[in-house]
């Protein structure tokens, strides 16, 4: 019998989460970011300390399942000692790989982790007059829960997606809280008209 439902690495970070932000008031963060929505079942907060563009300390809080907790825990370990620009580039795939893989329906947990981290870095840039470094996404995120952008919807349409159901299957958009449905439907229509 498997004595654990996910990978051992995930179990390790779930059982003994590293760098939990326990004393928020006394952690003098240089940057802080929070993303996600409790309604959807996941919310993550990152707080970082920065010295000469290097993340010297990183703490977090997470409302979410085991995968979400482990994702934030391992991400906090990964980015300590990283330059801000390197940390900015960490992807959900990197996080999942470090955890020795996540089941498909748990991918959104790792998606939120790197978003929260980038929000914290952006906050640091803002506080230090370096707004120019904030990478404005060229694209707009439509589905906040699954982190699906308008560009991805367009790509999906180009790949043959025609209905909302297909779009959900293809991108996982709108499969959590469903709040983005109207906007996604509009875009789906727009891109269909644009390309076909």
């Amino acid at each position: 019998m498997n004595d654990w439902v996910y990978s051992d690495k995930l179990k390790e970070h779930f059982t003994n989460p590293k760098n939990v932000l326990e004393d928020e008031a006394n952690f003098a963060a240089d940057g802080k970011g929070i993303v996600g929505n409790i309604k959807c079942g996941d919310q993550m907060l990152f707080a970082i300390k920065v010295d000469k563009d290097i993340i010297t300390d990183c703490k977090w809080k997470t409302y979410g399942c085991a995968s979400a907790i482990a994702s934030t825990s391992i991400l906090s370990e990964m980015v300590k000692g990283m330059t801000l620009s390197a940390a900015y580039k960490v992807t959900p795939k990197d996080v999942a790989a470090q955890l020795d893989g996540l089941p498909e329906h748990k991918i959104h947990c790792s998606v939120l982790g790197d978003k929260a981290l980038r929000a914290a870095i952006d906050d640091y840039y803002k506080r230090n007059g370096q707004e120019n470094k904030i990478k404005k996404d060229q694209t707009k995120i439509i589905c906040q829960c699954m982190n699906v952008s308008d560009a991805e919807i367009e790509e999906a349409v180009l790949e043959g997606v025609r209905t909302y159901l297909e779009l959900q299957e293809h991108t996982k958009l709108g499969t959590v809280c469903g709040q983005c449905k109207d906007e996604a439907l509009k875009l789906l229509d727009e891109y269909k008209k644009k390309h076909f």
């Binding site: 326990e22 309604k39 079942g41 809080k61 979410g64 085991a66 829960c145 959590v176």
Partner: protein, 393 residues
């Protein structure tokens, strides 16, 4: 996990371990291999065992043996009861009588809800009854909905997630007064609370063995004599032509034994479970702040306790408890393949957050006061740990 003797199972509404006597009965019956339809002695022996079980089960719920149809699961029994709406044969079709409507509730098991969705696609008019904060339907809403176009009312007797027990007798009465038939999914009720089909006056009633210490893969549907009926599985004369397929002799024997044991042990056992639940409930209330118990305070299955913890996500609670050797279930989306929290908890008015933060502890006959005390010791620590790293607490 060092301090405990074994994993403690608190998920008895999901399924139950075999009763030792059921296990013994199955072992004894392993060599009864004859096809119950065969006329020779091997067949007769199997058939006799099946009919014995049928009688035991019928007696237990106040039915006649010929009113019990064995099927493969509770889900199949529910699908069968609802499938009469699809039949176009004229022999049993409600459509032919211009009665192609179905009323059910928002808190049914998915095997009712999914089937009703499918029926809707085939032209059945669907109505879903709301429930109050405790999970009870409002009989007046049912009265308002009934018209002579309605064919069947299907309401679950006891809810699997929150344990709320409905007044099926009243529901059946309203149904019959409007010329409708009444079905109840009593999978969580039969063997836990007294169920008598004569008293309830229902036309269909669904049962399952594995919720009451029998094996998986065997269920039964009670169909009142004379009620329109249409088989779901065609192609054989078994079960009076109502469910084709060679009978699961072993399953049926085991189901009968499970019911026999329930008849002997249920009353006493339920009193004990009720005491265990009360101890657990008071301890949770005392030791853990910001909680909410779900389900009806009194009309509730004795072994079922559903509770929401503010700011703590259910799958995380479940898996931390699992690491401590305690097995429960959760209404959180994260624990299932889907991403939506429990439809039952949302229907009783919980916010998505409260639903995500809920766990169900379902106590069964093997649980002891030591198990409860162990849970009482571990649960507050787990909740504290989860809340400690939560953005929402």
């Amino acid at each position: 996990m060092s301090s405990i003797k074994k994993p403690i199972y608190f998920d008895n509404n999901a399924t139950t371990p075999l009763h030792p006597q059921v296990k013994a009965e199955i072992t004894k019956a392993l060599d009864i291999f004859g096809n119950p339809s065969s006329l020779h002695q091997f067949g007769r022996k199997a058939n006799e065992a099946i009919e014995h079980s049928r009688k035991t089960i019928a007696t237990f719920i106040g039915a006649n043996p010929e009113e019990i149809i064995f099927v493969g699961s509770g889900s199949e029994a529910n699908n069968t009861a609802l499938s009469i709406f699809c039949c176009q044969s004229g022999k049993c079709s409600f459509q032919s009588k211009n009665q192609s409507s179905l009323i059910t509730t928002r808190i049914e098991h998915p095997c009712i809800l999914e089937t009703s969705r499918c029926l809707k696609g085939k032209g059945t008019n669907m109505f879903y009854l709301d429930v109050d904060e405790y999970g009870k339907i409002n009989p007046n809403q049912l009265k308002d909905l009934t018209t002579n176009k309605i064919g069947l009312v299907s309401v679950m007797m006891a809810n699997n997630e929150i344990g709320t027990i409905q007044d099926i007798k009243e529901i059946a009465k309203i149904a019959h007064n409007s010329g409708m038939l009444a079905h109840t999914d009593a999978v969580q009720a039969v063997g836990k609370i007294p169920v008598n089909v004569g008293e309830l006056d229902v036309d269909f009633l669904t049962m399952s063995a594995h919720k009451i210490y029998g094996p998986k893969g065997i269920g039964a549907l009670y169909v009142k004599k004379g009620t329109p009926f249409c088989p779901l599985i065609h192609g054989g004369h078994q079960e009076q032509g109502r469910r084709a397929g060679t009978e699961s002799t072993l399953g049926i024997i085991a189901f009968g034994k499970a019911i026999e044991m329930r008849a002997k042990e249920m009353t006493e056992e339920e009193t004990r479970l009720s005491q265990l639940k009360n101890i657990l409930k008071s301890a949770i209330e005392e030791k853990i702040p910001d909680i909410k118990f779900n389900g009806h305070p009194t009309d509730c299955l004795t072994g079922t306790l559903n509770v929401s913890f503010t700011g703590a996500e259910g799958e995380a609670i479940l898996l931390y408890l699992d690491l401590e050797g305690i097995c429960v279930s959760t209404g959180s989306a994260c624990a299932s393949g889907s991403l939506d929290p429990s439809h039952v908890l949302l229907a009783v008015g919980l916010s998505a957050e409260q639903a995500h933060g809920s766990i169900r502890i379902s106590i069964g006959r093997e649980n002891t006061i030591e198990d409860i005390n162990y849970l009482i010791e571990k649960l507050p620590k787990v909740i504290k740990k989860v809340r400690n790293m939560s953005t929402a607490y």
